[in-house]
């Protein structure tokens, strides 16, 4: 009896949605009319990180805040702002974390330097092997 009641209660349970009831911003899901501007906006959106689903870009995310960030990007591009200026505006607020394009600075030197070091180390190892074969 209690189990049946429990199941019945499950049926009437309403999910607690963490989303607003407002429709998405018009610019969240519709493109700019100028294809060149839209291409600029889309390229930028793919390199900006969503603040809610933190592993996705705002171009990929369906979170409401990502929609609002896409709207912000499109609106600013439409107003003539350069993509890098918009990125800088967001980095100014959220840190480099928000951008998928890491700048070259002391904290990211290992990131940029590691590939070069690895290629050099590989060349050095290969040189050793090649020399041995020739003998």
């Amino acid at each position: 009896m209690m189990r049946a009641l429990g199941l019945l209660l499950l049926l009437v349970a309403a999910p607690a949605l963490a989303d607003s009831r407002l429709p998405p911003d018009p610019y969240a899901y519709s493109q700019l009319s100028d294809p060149r501007q839209e291409a600029e906006a889309a390229a930028l959106m793919q390199t900006l990180r969503c603040l809610v689903c933190q592993g996705q870009s705002i171009a990929d995310s369906d979170a409401e805040l990502a929609g609002d960030m896409r709207a912000l990007v499109r609106r600013r591009i439409a107003a003539g702002e350069r993509p890098e200026a918009i990125r800088a505006w967001l980095v100014d607020r959220y840190g480099n974390w928000v951008s998928y394009a890491p700048p070259v600075e002391p904290a990211t030197w290992p990131l940029w330097g590691a590939p070069i070091l690895l290629v050099l180390a590989g060349a050095w190892l290969a040189r050793g092997r090649l020399r041995r074969r020739r003998r």
Partner: protein, 175 residues
């Protein structure tokens, strides 16, 4: 030299494994703090969200008296949990302004009728524009702004009862 090179791949693997294992076990921090703490509130002007209370703009946050700016929404569940703490903070005489994110006047009025109204001013931010300008990444968040309009503190998430003394202390420190 040769013997050392033989061990090198293993050393690299151990270093890699240790890094990954450490990062897997370390508690992850998903909070994104605003870089605007210590800097002035960015320029904005938002309309009133409910009848009978004014909206909010950046100039009115620099009129001499420090304030708390609470970012909330009627659809936000932790905001319900934090409401009693905000009412307690307001009862101690701290002015609290609010920015309602992606909301409607009717829903906000309903939320305030249910959970109490600690706010002096409530502004409506329909597309999170001012939220993004403030470097906030969710609801609820609470900023302490000093009398000159400089952001002094950002509290991310709902204010729990145990957070109230710290918020009051930081508010006093912003005077």
């Amino acid at each position: 030299m040769r013997r050392f090179i033989l061990w090198l791949p293993l050393l690299v693997f151990v270093a890699f494994f240790a890094t990954v294992a450490f990062q897997l076990y370390a508690p992850s921090d998903h909070m994104i703090r605003s870089r605007l703490v210590g800097r002035p509130v960015p320029k904005f002007a938002l309309p009133a969200a409910v009848a009978g209370k004014p909206g909010l703009d950046s100039a009115s946050l620099a009129e001499g008296e420090p304030r708390i700016v609470n970012i909330f929404a009627s659809w936000c569940i932790p905001c319900i949990a934090e409401a009693p703490q905000l009412i307690e903070i307001a009862r101690r005489g701290v002015p609290i302004d609010a920015i309602a994110i992606r909301d409607t006047p009717a829903d906000i009025a309903d939320f305030l009728a249910r959970n109490g109204d600690p706010y002096r001013r409530i502004a409506l931010d329909k597309n999170s524009a001012v939220q993004l300008a403030l470097g906030s990444s969710g609801v609820p968040e609470t900023f302490i702004v000093d009398g000159k309009g400089i952001i002094r503190h950002q509290h991310i998430g709902d204010i729990r009862p145990e957070d109230v003394p710290e918020i009051l202390r930081l508010y006093e420190a912003a005077r």
